[in-house]
Symmetry: C2
Subunit: 130 residues, 2 copies
């Protein structure tokens, strides 16, 4: 179960870093709720997520993803996945251009045999972008 959830997450993140947000849309639940640093209010429901992420399509690109200390807490058909995350852009010479440190929380629920994200919260570690 833990491997399944991590695999879903990393697959969606791999698409995300290349500017494709639709991997997450495929695994968000219909009633998903969402906070991140770009949202002035919580987004409620898959329709709201789809509208928001459509605006970001093609605009997000980074070269290196680091998942740090990922942890899954399991409770019957629900699981809380948390990790720190660094999204890093590189210069042509391979040096670091930009690195953003994130805290990530995801709540997965098993629905009809499929794990779906019902809540997602992204924030800057220590409340700062750098």
């Amino acid at each position: 179960m833990k491997e399944t959830i991590l695999s879903l997450e990393k697959g969606a993140m791999e698409r995300w870093r290349k500017g494709d947000p639709w991997g997450f849309i495929e695994i968000y639940a219909p009633d998903v709720t969402y906070f991140d640093t770009g949202t002035p209010q919580r987004l409620n429901g898959l329709g709201a997520l789809r509208a928001e992420l459509a605006q970001r399509e093609g605009k997000i690109h980074y070269d290196v993803m680091e998942f740090i200390a990922s942890r899954i807490q399991v409770q019957e058909n629900a699981a809380v996945l948390t990790y720190r995350f660094f999204s890093t852009q590189l210069n042509p010479d391979g040096s670091i251009s930009n690195r953003i440190p994130w805290n990530c929380s995801e709540v997965y629920v098993r629905m009809d045999g499929q794990w779906r994200i019902v809540h997602n919260h992204w924030s800057y570690i220590k409340g700062e972008r750098i």
Copy 2:
């Protein structure tokens, strides 16, 4: 059930705003995980939370709490509570001295008939303190 969870949350927050973090310690689960803007890493487990919050005891005071658009998503014995929150300090004349805008996520799980928080994530709305 939703009333029970909101009541637990608001009771703990009422103590928190007066510098008393122990209301939360009473309702965190043994394996709670925690992110906020003061923590460089995720805190894992009640012992880590107790150590961190002991350092904050008596240092947090604000006059007005605003819970905005609280929402509870229920899944059997688990529930995700999310809200925006403004913590506000007032000047002696009643004008606003300081207001911090927060996103809050809490995952509650029912254990032996008691609701306990297994995950908590606090961040600044739009990634900014002000």
